[in-house]
């Protein structure tokens, strides 16, 4: 490949004195100075969080108010910093959601360990755990920084997706059972 040597352009007299360039620099900084500032004054002004932001992991309800988590513990296993602790629990028979396999008796995410990698969300078969827009978790003690089940649902709220996977499954099972009798 041919090497092309580009001659450096000789500076003109005024360029060699630097003075016009200094003046131009001063003009630039002056313009910058009279413009409004760029800084966000944080506690009062909040940044706009884009969609798909991976903030604090939370648990969500479905539109019927059922906990989506079935405590399969996949997230607990996949979690790289081992921040998640799940105690699975049975659903009593009289519960309207008794047809669902299980639900977490306790679900704890240690936010001092969490690295916001989003693998829990990725791995969840039930779409029950979501990294949402909340980005600043603070607390005075270590205990405060562990989100328990109640807090996780408070943060998570309801996911408006109307899949109702378990209800459909139950309906299908019932239909099959019914069909079987025929």
């Amino acid at each position: 490949m041919a090497v092309v040597t580009v001659e450096r352009k000789p500076l003109t007299f005024w360029e060699r004195t630097y003075l016009p360039n200094i003046a131009a620099g001063l003009a630039t900084t002056f313009k910058r100075m009279v413009k409004p500032t760029e800084t966000l004054e944080y506690p009062e002004q909040r940044p706009e969080i884009p969609a798909g932001y991976r903030g604090v992991p939370t648990l969500v309800y479905d539109p019927n108010g059922r906990e989506k988590c079935v405590s399969c513990q996949l997230c607990e296993f996949v979690c790289p910093p081992k921040a998640i602790r799940i105690t699975p629990g049975e659903i009593p028979n009289e519960d309207p959601n008794a047809h669902v396999e299980k639900r977490p008796q306790e679900f704890k995410i240690d936010m001092l360990r969490c690295i916001y990698c989003g693998m829990c969300q990725e791995v969840c078969p039930e779409e029950a755990i979501w990294l949402q827009q909340q980005y600043s978790m603070t607390g005075y003690t270590r205990e405060e920084m562990v989100n328990d089940k109640k807090r996780l649902y408070e943060l998570g709220g309801t996911l408006p997706d109307e899949h109702f996977k378990w209800d459909k499954k139950k309906a299908a099972e019932q239909a099959a059972a019914h069909g079987g009798h025929h």
């Binding site: 001063l26 500032t37 800084t39 004054e41």
Partner: protein, 392 residues
């Protein structure tokens, strides 16, 4: 109103005046440092310090009361005024460590020595003028020596000793380099600075003139009637003004010439080992030098307290009918003068946050190989021109 004052013995009066004028500069440093922080912030698109707010029952109760005034208090808070009190408190009450390896006596002496030239040079600077009872324009100044400018230069050049001393007494590598750089830089730029003002005084002391180096007389020659009488020397001698300004930046160790403390290669330069109150004294001295230097520049090249070129202050006083009120006149003159000085303080900061720092060899090269020949050529050119004008 001031009768009791004039009944005091002359020596005591002079002592009081001297103390008063010297102390004028001392409280100028905190606002300057605040201005520096705000201007740097604005240039960088930040708001700068705007949070500090004194509690009303705090130890500075008056400040607290001011802060509680609805609109004004908030505006002052946004300007960071209360930050000054916090900074001052911090510098005063913070632990002031003396490292074990330093030469203790000189280490403590250096910041104190930095205050001496900083506070004394102001004694030779006239701030304004007023008509006395006889209708003669007299300067508002502590002294009006006919060697005024030389005195300022002489005392100003003593300022470098504190830097050398600080660098040497710190007994460690970077401060030492900073001290050596300070002395070399001072010697290099003092020459161009002195040579750059010579054309001004050649013109002021042209044959038939009075033979003076007084700063007041320089302003007087810029406030004469007529087109040439009313022009400021910055217009007739732009090269001189430019050299003086550049040398002033170098002598006050301001960016882009702040070699003695360039934090990129010398950590903190001469003040690396200093902290708290002693450190702040160096900065009071630096700002005092800046103020006095800008004052000298305004007097020499920008017509001192004259409001505009071709509009002398005495004319203004006659037009606006305050010529017969010496106190008011003096205050207005001081106000005009300080406004110009204030602009230059701003200019110093503006340049600091615009230009990158020179390399040390570039500083030396600029001083000896560019500015010095330029100032000599400038002097010769103006000497010829003035001789031609005078012998015409």
């Amino acid at each position: 109103m001031f009768d009791f004052y004039f009944e005091l013995p002359l020596l005591l009066r002079l002592l009081l005046q001297g103390t008063a004028v010297s102390l004028v500069l001392l409280p100028r440093a905190p606002p300057c440092s605040m201005a520096e922080r705000k201007i740097s912030a604005w240039i960088q698109g930040r708001p700068g310090p705007n949070r500090t707010k004194p509690p009303i029952a705090g130890f500075l109760a008056p400040l607290g009361l001011v802060a509680s005034i609805p609109v004004l208090g908030t505006a002052l808070q946004k300007l960071g005024i209360y930050q000054l009190a916090a900074d001052g408190g911090k510098f005063t009450f913070k632990e002031d460590p003396i490292p074990g390896h330093v030469n203790k006596f000189y280490f403590v002496l250096a910041p104190i020595a930095s205050m001496i030239p900083a506070l004394t040079t102001v004694a030779f600077v006239p701030f304004g003028a007023y008509f006395d009872a006889a209708g003669k324009l007299v300067p508002v100044a502590l002294t009006n020596l006919d060697v005024g400018l030389l005195a300022v230069f002489a005392l100003g050049s003593l300022g470098v000793y504190s830097l050398i001393l600080a660098g040497w007494a710190s007994n460690s590598k970077y401060p030492f380099l900073g001290g050596v750089r300070a002395s070399a830089q001072l010697i290099s730029y003092e020459l161009s600075m002195t040579l750059s003002v010579l054309p001004v005084f050649l013109w002021v002391n042209a044959p038939g003139g009075q033979g003076t180096l007084s700063l007041f007389d320089v302003v007087q020659t810029q406030s004469q009637p007529g087109f040439w009488g009313g022009t400021w020397y910055a217009m007739t001698m732009p090269v001189s003004a430019f050299i003086f300004l550049v040398a002033l930046f170098a002598e006050t160790n301001r960016q882009p010439f702040d070699m003695p403390e360039s934090e990129a290669d010398l950590v903190g330069g001469f003040h690396t080992e200093y902290g708290a109150f002693k450190w702040s004294l160096f900065f009071v001295a630096e700002y005092a030098h800046m103020i006095v230097g800008s004052g000298i520049f305004c007097l020499l090249f920008l017509g001192g307290w004259n409001p505009l070129p071709w509009v002398s202050f005495a004319d203004l006083a006659h037009w606006l009918h305050f010529a017969d009120k010496p106190l008011l006149m003096g205050l207005i003159a001081i106000g005009l003068f300080l406004a110009k000085v204030g602009f230059f303080i701003f200019f110093f900061m503006w340049v600091r946050w615009t230009l990158p720092r020179f390399r040390y060899d570039q500083v030396m090269k600029l001083g000896w190989q560019k500015l010095l020949p330029l100032s000599i050529a400038n002097l010769i050119a103006y000497a010829l021109v003035i001789a031609w004008i005078e012998t015409r």
